[in-house]
């Protein structure tokens, strides 16, 4: 069987997802605080602190502007952490994958469940931030409910991209490169804290191909009750990153684990 064959997942990915869910339930309390504290403190601190120095941004308060970006990047972070650190622990350190592959479950099922599980966790992270935003009255539109499926899609995208790193990683230290060279630049260049249009033209072009830009371009209008421009294009871009990312990650895992 060559490593490049089309993915052949089965419904047997479900018990793996349930395994991770059972682990998560045991640490749920600390996990929820972790999901919530960091992004909300950033949002409130910058939103009020920096926001008081700024005039309105794109016709809204800076805090409102920041809210949409915060949902996106906290979803990205959560999916990335799960796919990188927790995924690597399950594959390499605890050898959970080895145990699972001795059953009728295949590697394709495992990689699919890793992606779906990381997306599930990031959906919870996104929802936690959304809840704070709704409770604070920063978004009044029914359109903001679309943020829920969007958070899931963003989670799938960054889970898939993160899994590529996990498949390549010799150790945990390797993940620092990904954060320094990919995650942090995206947080700063993709319109989370300020509009992409503030950047020089060359950086704007670069930002336009990054997946987080597409997520923010969808999220901000939705939070403000506006149907986003070029919805189909942005969705397609995110789906392409998710689909191709999954395939590349799967090929790399097949090669890595074909001992």
């Amino acid at each position: 069987m060559n490593h490049y064959r089309f993915p052949q997942p089965s419904l047997r990915f479900i018990p793996i997802w349930r395994r991770n869910w059972l682990v998560w339930r045991k640490v749920a309390a600390t996990s929820v605080i972790g999901h919530l504290a960091d992004p909300v403190i950033y949002m409130l601190g910058l939103g009020y602190g920096l926001g008081s120095l700024l005039p309105e941004m794109n016709g809204m308060s800076y805090l409102t502007f920041l809210a949409a970006g915060t949902v996106c990047y906290s979803t990205m972070n959560s999916a990335t952490f799960e796919a990188l650190y927790s995924g690597f622990a399950r594959m390499h350190e605890q050898r959970t994958w080895d145990a699972i592959m001795n059953t009728p479950v295949t590697l394709d099922d495992i990689v699919l469940s890793e992606m779906l599980w990381a997306a599930t966790k990031s959906l919870m992270a996104g929802l936690a931030v959304l809840l704070v935003i709704w409770l604070m009255g920063l978004s009044h539109s029914w359109l903001s409910l679309w943020m829920i499926p969007l958070a899931l899609l963003v989670g799938l995208t960054f889970a898939a991209l993160g899994l590529i790193m996990t498949a390549l990683a010799p150790s945990y230290d390797f993940f620092m490169y990904y954060f320094t060279l990919v995650v942090t630049p995206m947080m700063l260049l993709c319109g989370v804290f300020f509009p992409v249009t503030q950047l020089p033209e060359s950086l704007q072009l670069f930002a336009a191909i990054l997946p987080l830009t597409h997520a923010v371009d969808l999220a901000r209008p939705l939070m403000n009750g506006v149907v986003p421009a070029e919805t189909g294009f942005h969705l397609l871009a995110l789906c392409a990153y998710a689909g191709l990312g999954f395939y590349v990650a799967l090929v790399l895992f097949r090669r890595r684990l074909a001992r």
Binding site: P15, R19, D98, N102
Partner: protein, 304 residues
Amino acid sequence: MSSIIRARKLQKSYGIFRVVDGLDLDIRRGECFGLLGPNGAGKTTTLRLLLGLTEPDGGSAELLDLPVPQAAREARIRVGVVPQMDNLDPDFTVAENLLVYGRYFGLSDTEINARIPDLLDFASLTNKRDARVPTLSGGMKRRLTLARALVNDPDVIFLDEPTTGLDPQARHLIWQRLRELTRQGKTLLLTTHFMDEAERLCHRLAVMDNGRLIAQGSPQDLISGHIEPQVVEVFGEPAAEWAHRHAGHFSERFEISGETVFCYVRDAQPLLAELAREEGLRYLHRPANLEDVFLKLTGREMRE
């Protein structure tokens, strides 16, 4: 008897290194079959090939009448595996490990929960049901791994060095359980470094070296077919020098390993009489065992 695991000219290379080199194997239903060999002989790779976890470069394999790796998923529904390294879920309790693992076979929670008391009893872990894995001893972890391999009530059980790293008490308990599984009619395929383990448990054995089978048969057949029936081990500083002068006259074959001389003989009496006359030599007279066969077939040098 029909074979439940079958390999024909099975072959696997990593780079230029042939790990499994034209392997033919027939394991019969209900037997305990042992795969012996020094480190790097290809035992674990053979197990992985037979489980359909690794793609062979050549040859074919069948597991429970299904071709692997093509139909490995279906075949593994009726197989249990005890891996070399424990990979239990550290976040879970003993019972949760069994429940979660059973789900991978498509079993419902009701089915699995009904089986858990018997599995815990079999593994002597009933009072550890709600203990978390990191609190278990090495022997308990091995027994839980064995119980986990039985959660789907498999016909065939693969065991990769099931007692490595265990103390004698824990090993004996595992042996007892493995014999019980054989009595229940399960087929066992195990790899081991322990010759006493192989000799006690296995109906048939194969010795592997450099990816090839170099001998096969029951423990008794291997001993009687490959080696003289008696061994006299001679120890002490002058042993080697003594051996060069005299050992050849009194034994069919002898080997010097450090300060020990192994003399292989059909009739030990003349040798023992000679040794009784020598000053400063200690010796041990014993029947030949599987370890002697193994060392004869695979040599005494270290494999690292």
